[in-house]
């Protein structure tokens, strides 16, 4: 007697990785170098401008308050973490290092606030870069 059992075991659908399109790569690169540019490149004008104004203002206010811009390889763990935050600001960080802005010692409370503004501006830019990537791969409208 022939085996008529036709049940098959279905393998669960594997989650597919989103394709790395040209726009996704450009959104990451532009968004990191110029805050908000990842959104602007995808014609999200208002979002891009608001992100640009927010991140750039925070970074500029931090510098204006005599905040410190961290450098890599100082040997201090907290300085390294500060550097990771700062470098998220991309072009703003590179510009400030080139112009030697933020090369100060934290001596006053205002200076400490400024340092935190600069670190958080970098971290917020990382969030905006991830958002630009999600828009580019169609995960977010």
């Amino acid at each position: 007697m022939a085996n008529t059992d036709t049940t098959t075991t279905e393998t669960p659908a594997r989650p597919t990785t989103p394709p790395l399109t040209v726009m996704a790569a450009l959104a990451i690169a532009f968004g990191w170098l110029i805050p908000g540019a990842g959104h602007l490149a995808q014609k999200k004008w208002i979002r891009g401008l608001l992100l640009m104004v927010s991140v750039c203002s925070m970074f500029a206010l931090g510098l204006a308050m005599n905040g410190k811009v961290y450098k890599p390889n100082t040997g201090d763990l907290l300085d390294m973490l500060g550097f990771v935050g700062d470098v998220g600001a991309g072009g703003l960080y590179i510009l400030s290092r080139l112009m030697e802005w933020g090369d100060v010692a934290i001596a006053a409370a205002t200076s400490d606030y400024g340092t935190k503004f600069i670190v958080v501006a970098g971290l917020l830019n990382v969030i905006s870069v991830v958002d630009a990537y999600h828009i580019a791969i169609g995960k977010k409208p």
Partner: protein, 62 residues
Amino acid sequence: MILALQLSHFSAAVTFSLFSSIVFGICFRGNPRDMVRYGAYCFSVFVVGMLVAGWAMRFLHR
């Protein structure tokens, strides 16, 4: 740097809250209406939390 902006702790915290809330609102919600609402929610949580923490520290300091 010669320029040194002198913000009070309160004004610095409100400025910080404003810009952070704008980014949170845009990045963590999908449509414009929800973005505005979430941004306003984050801003209010930041400011209320700051005031509560400030008063708590004042009483704990005594």
